[in-house]
């Protein structure tokens, strides 16, 4: 770790918190309705849109109605994305004459974008029409992020409310998240991206007569900036182009790279501040944020350290410098590792370097960050509700140790609540480990791996960790655009999303019904350093217990092979 890597990190965190603080206030104002009460145009447009949709905007939904609305909304989104891909060849805005996407790939991509995963088996510049990109994929970038925000807000309400029946109105929450949070931020960010060189165009690919002139170069364009902005702000991560944020059109320079990284963590960090405000105790928010930051800094440091080491196999050949395979010159090692840590802490999955080519332990960092359940800042909404599950788990474990009924924010944690937490936290590791196991014993699974040995195993493990945690980044050597991988990964993505969301909403409903008890001498405080340590401990312990054997077979084995033999 040199000075630059620390300076970049410090600068990043300072600017992030400075921006997330006011946004947290804005989030609170949007979701408690105080902004709509102040500005009549806001309330009027909300009411008009909801009336068109035939929803009662004042209904306070019990958790199961809220969950039903969320699942219905996402099912319809998946159908639309699938249909647009299959029909794009007869629809407008297709200047490059893209054909219909194959059924299995279209299915995988539909599930992938609806679940905020944005795993991409296809390569954008040679598969998707402009219409599919902007009206199917980019729309889901908004709506899946809005879904995450809505669920997180419902859980906060469950904690904040006192003996209440409902957890809020799903339609109103979805609408507010999309219109008042994601849309304005994306508009500003997209214009900034254009100013740095990201195209926004509806033209056909341009044919260039290259300078040396050996062959012409066909340069694809499209509405890239508008999609890029929400791709990062919504922690979606699905690139317009195959190379994602490593593509110069998606991420042209060091400044755009820095702002893109900020965009990934902005809403997840702001939601933690909003959580503190909405439960009426900012110390609770700060404690959660501290735990996230400590985990993030630690794993980033491991990544930079590992990637800065020269590859011993290459050093022998008389080559100077760090391993630059899969790394862009304008970003270099530090900005690439920071991006890798950010994108996999959050459930973003955009990449500005090819993780498959990272040094073994540098590739371990994004893998492990995903396996921790994407609770280190995490996805938009999903990071906060994931971390709050661990907070409940932490007070439960602490309660067992000191022999008291566990409580979080004055809510007694009972058997039903713990069952929901258990389902939500165990579903994902089961999907990851079972999926990986199936892939490495099945012929069509093995056929997708591109690297030999331990690294090949890491590719499969990475794919399922990414899918079930709704990240979407890849060890991209994996040839995943086959019916086997498309179907299996779509299964992991769908259940990795909704086997968490539904129990989280059930938890929110159960908590909302309970009274909020006053703090007493016997209460375990959940805002001090002790709780922060407890929270970090439960995240790490849980992740480690689930994944150590698999990690030992993948990146750890590869590290020892690479460095041990020389």
């Amino acid at each position: 770790m040199n000075d630059n890597s620390w300076i970049q990190l410090a600068l990043y965190l300072i600017v992030l918190f400075a921006l997330a603080w006011p946004l947290g206030r804005w989030l609170q104002g949007v979701f408690d309705g105080s902004l709509a009460a102040r500005w009549r145009w806001m309330a009027a447009s909300e009411r008009a849109l909801l009336r068109l949709a035939g929803c009662a905007s004042d209904e306070d939904m019990p958790w199961w109605r809220y969950a039903g609305a969320i699942v219905a909304f996402n099912l319809i989104g998946a159908l639309a994305v699938y249909a647009l891909q299959r029909l794009q060849f007869v629809l407008p805005l297709n200047p490059a004459d893209m054909g219909a996407v194959s059924p299995d790939s279209a299915f995988d991509t539909a599930v992938s974008f609806v679940t905020n995963t944005d795993w991409q088996g296809y390569s954008g510049e040679s598969t998707m029409s402009h219409l599919t990109q902007m009206a199917a994929l980019a729309v889901q970038n908004f709506l899946s992020a809005a879904t995450g925000i809505a669920v997180a807000i419902a859980l906060i309400r469950g904690l904040a409310r006192h003996s209440a029946q409902g957890v809020g109105n799903a339609w109103l929450d979805l609408l507010r998240a999309a219109l008042w949070i994601l849309l304005p931020l994306s508009l500003v960010f997209a214009i900034f991206l254009v100013s740095e060189g990201v195209p926004q165009d509806f033209a056909a690919p341009v044919i260039a007569h290259t300078l040396q002139g050996a062959h012409a170069q066909t340069i694809p364009l499209g509405p890239v900036a508008s999609q890029e902005a929400i791709k990062l702000l919504g922690t979606n991560g699905g690139g317009f182009f195959n190379a994602n944020s490593a593509h110069p059109f998606e991420n042209p320079n060091g400044l755009s790279n820095f702002i893109e990284m900020l965009a990934i963590f902005l809403i997840p960090a702001a939601l933690v501040f909003a959580f503190g405000r909405m439960v009426g105790d900012m110390r609770q928010g700060i404690a959660v944020l501290t735990a996230m930051t400590v985990l993030f800094v630690g794993l980033y440091a491991v990544g930079v350290l590992a990637q800065s080491q020269p590859n011993p196999l290459i050093a022998k050949l008389g080559v100077s410098g760090a391993n630059m395979e899969g790394i862009e010159t304008r970003f270099g090692t530090v900005a690439s590792m920071l991006f890798a840590a950010v994108t996999t802490s959050a459930s973003c999955g955009a990449v500005n370097a090819m993780h498959d080519s990272l040094m073994p332990l540098a590739g371990f960092v994004p893998l492990f960050l995903m396996q921790l359940g994407e609770v280190v800042f995490g996805g938009v909404g999903s990071g906060l509700y994931g971390m709050l599950l661990f907070a409940v788990l932490a007070v439960f474990v602490a309660g067992l140790m000191i022999g008291r009924t566990p409580e979080y924010l004055g809510k007694k944690i009972g058997a039903f609540e713990m069952k929901m937490v258990a389902i939500a936290t165990l579903a994902v590791p089961v999907l990851v480990l079972l999926g990986t196991a199936i892939a490495v014993i099945a012929k069509p699974g093995l056929a997708g791996l591109s690297n030999p040995g331990a690294h090949g195993f890491s590719e499969a493990l990475y794919a399922f960790s990414s899918a079930a945690n709704n990240n979407g980044s890849a060890f991209a050597g994996l040839s995943a655009n086959t019916p086997f991988w498309n179907v299996l990964l779509a299964f992991a993505m769908w259940y990795g999303r909704f086997l968490v969301i539904v129990p989280v909403l059930a938890l929110a409903g159960a908590l909302a019904r309970k009274p909020r008890l006053a703090e007493s001498a016997g209460t375990l405080p959940t805002h001090g350093p002790l709780f922060v340590i407890l929270l970090i401990g439960s995240v790490l312990l849980f992740g480690a217990l689930n994944y150590v054997p698999a990690l030992a077979l993948g990146p750890v084995a590869e590290h020892f092979v690479l460095f041990g033999a020389h």
């Binding site: 195209p199 290259t210 490593a246 630059m324 060890f475 590869e558």
Partner: protein, 199 residues
């Protein structure tokens, strides 16, 4: 439940209209006016032809041009329709073989270059379209380019310095040289020299 689906469908259509059409068109409209060059892909024109984009790297292998990063795109290098990296893992023998090959070619083409070869010149970029190399990597190639062009090495070095972009705000990213811009400057410099000689 049916009512739920109906509401969900209508809300979905409304939000698609706003986020899938109004929003990208608004960005398009503003970009058109405020940043037309960038919005169109930062294209470079010479003599009425588009010769490329300032942001997208091109393949150079002639000795008189600076070379960019190796590109793993298929079927040809720097194929902008198939961006991507090699995705070869650090312990993959195929990666080491590819590097050995690149090293042999580079050594033969650059007999005057000082050792060791910069890592950038033997490792494929992430996008396969990386437009940049570091100033050190450009310098390493300078003797070859100068000799092939019959230009004094001082002049080639001056061109590299002129084309070097420092990190944004002195902080973000790495120092770099855009290979296409450098080669264009090189052509211009030589054109000017030839023009002066003819006079």
């Amino acid at each position: 439940m049916f009512a739920s689906f109906k509401s969900a469908a209508i809300l979905f259509v409304l939000l698609t209209a706003i986020t899938g059409f109004v929003y990208p068109l608004a960005v398009y409209g503003i970009a058109r006016v405020a940043f037309p060059q960038q919005a169109n892909g930062s294209l470079i024109e010479r003599d009425g032809h588009i010769i490329g984009s300032a942001l997208i790297g091109q393949n150079f292998d002639a000795p008189g041009y600076f070379q960019g990063r190796p590109s793993a795109t298929t079927p040809t290098p720097y194929n902008a329709l198939a961006s991507g990296g090699s995705n070869l893992g650090p312990s993959n023998p195929a990666l080491i073989d590819a590097m050995k090959q690149r090293i042999a070619v580079l050594r033969k083409a650059n007999p005057d270059a000082e050792k060791p070869i910069p890592s950038e010149l033997v490792t494929a970029s992430a996008s396969g379209l990386d437009p940049d190399i570091s100033p050190q990597t450009a310098q390493w190639q300078a003797p070859r380019v100068a000799r092939a062009r019959g230009l004094p090495q001082m002049q080639v070095q001056a061109l590299i310095d002129a084309q070097t972009q420092s990190p944004a705000l002195g902080l973000f990213g790495e120092a770099r040289v855009n290979v296409l811009a450098l080669n264009l400057a090189l052509d211009d410099a030589q054109g000017a020299a030839a023009h002066n000689a003819r006079r």
